[in-house]
Amino acid sequence: MAREVLDARNLLCPLPVIRTQDRVARLAPGDVLEVHATDPGALNDIPAWCRVSGHRVLEACERPDGLVVVVIEVGDGAGG
């Protein structure tokens, strides 16, 4: 099981979602991806994308310094 970090800081939505989607497409079910973003919209958009794509959100929060962290476990329908 791989664990990777995706730096999507300083990107505005929907780019953090697009980068997340493209990275997840290269991971295997069960792998974990930790996404860092600064656009507060990512806190809603990335989990919403995970819900429609069948991935599990293990954690989603905005840290006091404004960093949005979303931790995803890749689901079975990965790819594409």
């Binding site: 505005l12 929907p14 979602v17 989607q21 507060p40 919209g41 809603n44 994308w49 429609v52």
Partner: protein, 364 residues
């Protein structure tokens, strides 16, 4: 024997029509997934992230929201680079402002077609309605999109299908034509009735179109950018900066981007390594980016404008720091411009059609 389940890819803009079109086809047992294209000009998102007063309101990505309501997967595709060719050289020209809708639709359908073939899907759905929009959604332009995109009769428009020649999905019985619709014209009533039938609420209803290029003020700023640079080009940062702040061009060779509130100032901060920036130091005030080369007199004028938008506008003198992209700073002490000295024509976004013509970008 159960018939094979057909698969369709639906163009999802985030608006009601594409949502309904996808749903109508899902209702017929077809497996539907959504595709959404990011051109950089999409209406939602950015200004929300930037402007503090917008932050209080919950924001959402409408395309994702639609996918969630429908219970379908959504694939968001970044087409910022490829889209330049569409916007800069549209075969069919522009609509009301700088929106190349017909070329844009064709391009998106072509990309969806590529995706469809790569993923083994059978046909494409759009939410287009005959007569809905003056440029891209007319009876005579519908065949143009199908033909020039190369998708041919694998393009189904469920909301207007009954008024159009049968497509392959209809002829082969993948969908039942009788259960599609014959909507046409500008009225939104049939769509709203159908939405009510499906129990859709809170859907987005963009007024002009799906992107900023239909917005007159935005188009004027883009045309001004091209005119000032002497060439029609842009990158993603240009697109974003045109959404932020007041844009004033006091002289043909330079433009000021003036932050309107704290969130915008913070966003503009991120560009201080790319532009000369001005900020009042004796009083609270905006961050101002300068696009263009300034001589001493220009710098003084820029500083006086900056002072005008600061809390020191009523003061005799305001000290303004000017910082180069390399980080060198010097301070100027200036008298703020008086209100009447800020010429209305300096406001780029108010130039409208005039700027569009100047850029040679008037509609074809």
């Amino acid at each position: 024997m159960a018939k094979t389940q057909r698969k369709a890819v639906a163009l999802i803009s985030g608006g009601l029509d594409s949502m309904l079109a996808a749903r109508v086809v899902m209702d017929q047992g077809v497996h539907v997934e959504g595709i959404n294209f990011f051109t950089g000009f999409c209406v939602e998102g950015h200004t929300h992230a930037i402007r503090r007063r917008d932050r209080a309101r919950p924001k959402r990505n409408n395309a994702l929201w639609v996918a969630e309501q429908l219970g379908i997967r959504l694939h968001i595709i970044d087409i910022v680079e490829e889209y330049k060719a569409v916007l800069l050289e549209p075969r069919h020209g522009y609509g009301q402002n700088l929106n190349p809708c017909l070329d844009c639709k064709t391009f998106m359908v072509r990309k969806a077609h590529e995706w469809m073939r790569e993923h083994g899907f059978d046909f494409i759905i759009t939410g287009e309605v005959i007569g809905q929009r003056p440029m891209s959604q007319r009876r005579d332009t519908f065949p143009v999109v199908a033909r020039e995109s190369g998708v041919g009769d694998l393009l189904l428009r469920p909301l207007s299908a009954r008024l159009l020649p049968p497509t392959r999905p209809e002829r082969e019985g993948w969908v039942d034509r009788e259960r599609l619709y014959g909507f046409h014209g500008r009225s939104r009533k049939p769509q709203m009735a159908l939405a009510a039938r499906y129990g859709f609420r809170d859907y987005a209803q963009p007024a002009g179109g799906c992107c900023f290029l239909t917005d007159e003020q935005y188009a004027a700023k883009l045309a001004d950018l091209w005119a000032a640079r002497g060439r029609r080009d842009y990158d993603l940062d240009d697109i974003l900066l045109l959404k932020v702040g007041r844009h004033l061009r006091p002289r043909p060779h330079f433009k000021l981007i003036v932050g309107r509130e704290e969130g915008e100032n913070r966003f503009l901060e991120g560009y201080r390594k790319r532009f000369l920036s001005l900020r009042p130091v004796s009083h609270a005030g905006p961050l101002v980016l300068v696009d263009g080369e300034l001589d001493e007199a220009d710098l003084e004028l820029a500083a006086r404008i900056t002072a005008r938008f600061s809390k020191g506008r009523g003061a005799g003198r305001v000290r303004v720091a000017a910082t180069t992209p390399e980080g060198g700073t010097r301070e100027l002490e200036v008298a703020p411009l008086a209100a009447h000295e800020i010429r209305p024509e300096w406001y780029v976004e108010r130039r409208g059609a005039q700027a569009l013509r100047a850029a040679g970008a008037a509609r074809a």
